[in-house]
Amino acid sequence: MRRLGRWTRARVFLRSFLVQASWNYRTLIGSGFAFALVPAFREVFRGDDRAVDEAVRRHARLFNSHPYLSPVALGAVAVLEAEGEGAEVIERFKTALRGSLGTLGDRLIWAGWRPLCVLFALAVLLAGAAWWVGVLVFLALYNAGHIAVRVLGYQLGLREGLRIGEQIRSPGVMRVQRALPTLGSFLAGLLLPLVVAGPFVQGAALTEALGDRGRLPLVWLAAGAAGALVGLRFGARVRTPVVIALWIITLGGILAGMDGS
């Protein structure tokens, strides 16, 4: 069994941060996947440029994964290429893996960890922290999880190779997947009254516009509560109507002003 050199493994990992640079609707992250694996191909097929180019062509086809979980597949495929596994086996393995890595990442990161970290940072800000504290808390917390997922995923891929499918469905991963929505919904509930009834940001212009205590009149608090009920009922579908309503108010506010002046 052949093992890739440390520097080669590090370069593949660093390139994984660029895996989506040439994202396109035909091969999705396929070309980025091949790009990240080039250092591994150059080591495995040292001195044989044709074999390197052939491997690039094989891997530049359609592939998809959550970007943070792409190191799992990159590690596993790099090991399989180093071990001389057949092209058909590797292609079947990638096909089987891409659905799982996409779905898991979307749930774990995009719909879990990211909104959770944003809500936590908003809570810190609404609690009265300085502007830079809220932003730094978000970046530090989010990227601690982000980088950990990438590093651990890459190590897992390198270690497990073809057996990776069983590992990404482990009970630990499922527990995290269940915990994130619980914390997220708690923070969303916590923030709701603070956003409606309190100032958005300490010292900001809006606070001053609202008067000494930075609180809205009662009628707007009631409207905010009604809006929250609509949001709870319709979820993500509220976004477009709310945005359109803001645009209509914008037009109304400008036209009424022009008419009056």
């Binding site: 660029l18 989506q20 640079a21 040439s22 994202w23 396109n24 609707y25 070309s31 091949a34 790009f35 440029d49 390197v52 180019d53 690039v56 062509r57 530049a60 996409g102 909104p115 502007w131 830079w132 932003v135 978000f138 990227n143 982000h146 929505p181 619980t182 997220g184 708690f186 969303a188 916590l190 923030l191 709701l192 009254p193 603070l194 409606v196 009834a197 958005f200 940001v201 212009a205 001053e208 516009a209 609202l210 009628v219 707007w220 409207a223 905010g224 509560a225 929250a228 009922r233 319709f234 979820g235 993500a236 976004r239 709310v242 309503a245 803001l246 645009w247 108010i249 109304g252 400008i254």
Partner: protein, 225 residues
């Protein structure tokens, strides 16, 4: 000098969304605050960023979905807001206009992302299918795509900042809605969107106990102030 730094920041924000690293400087809360910091008014940047962030929370970049690009739009909206508003002055109207502009510009920015992805399709995926694809060529095309994304985002921020400034300079002085009503409308919109994020966490039915618990804690904090 500030504008050059702002456009470069916008390029980085746009690249972070998809192409490079995704360390989330592209979130409105970071992107707009960064823009505010460049322009010397980070708190105003954060104010715009927080509101646009609440609208961005619900957007998920899943699979090949086309979605608005909120990061570069937040930078442009912040630039317009900071330049149009005197520091410390009541400015709910200008804030409303900046947020509405950001929510419009994110669609324009999203369309440029789609166009770039189409171009990548022809250049990179097309080259791969022609068969004469070498490792060196892939590396060059891939890095060129990264550069193109950076340039695209910088352009989106440059043009967007100018457009936001024009809108706020023109519409700010004629804004006819009172400060309190303007702030109220923003708060209602924010509350609706924030409650809508519950859909990310298995919906209202799935998490009503934890959501309710959070709500009680939020009310307790509010009443204790």
């Amino acid at each position: 000098m500030n504008w050059v730094a702002l456009v470069l920041w916008g390029g980085w924000v746009g690249a972070d969304t998809t192409s490079f690293a995704q360390v989330m400087i592209s979130r409105p809360i970071v992107a707009a605050t960064g823009a505010g910091l460049i322009l010397g008014r980070p708190v105003e940047g954060l104010t715009v960023g927080v509101l646009l962030e609440i609208f961005a929370l619900i957007i998920l970049p899943i699979g090949a979905a086309r979605y608005p690009e909120y990061g570069t739009a937040a930078v442009a909206a912040c630039a317009g807001y900071v330049h149009a508003v005197t520091e410390g002055a009541p400015a709910a109207g200008a804030l409303f206009l900046a947020v509405a502009f950001g929510l419009l510009w994110e669609r324009v920015a999203g369309a440029t992302v789609t166009a770039l992805r189409r171009a990548n399709e022809r250049l990179v995926a097309g080259a791969a299918e022609q068969g004469a694809f070498t490792a060196g060529r892939l590396e060059r095309l891939h890095l060129a795509a990264l550069g193109a994304d950076f340039a695209r985002a910088a352009l989106v921020v440059g043009v967007g900042s100018g457009a936001a400034l024009l809108l706020l300079r023109f519409a700010g002085p004629v804004w006819a809605i009172g400060e309190s009503a303007t702030a109220g409308a923003l708060a209602v919109a924010a509350a609706t969107m924030l409650a809508g994020t519950q859909a990310l966490f298995d919906g209202w039915a799935g998490r009503r106990v934890t959501f309710g618990l959070g709500l009680l804690c939020g009310l307790a904090i509010l009443l204790s102030r």
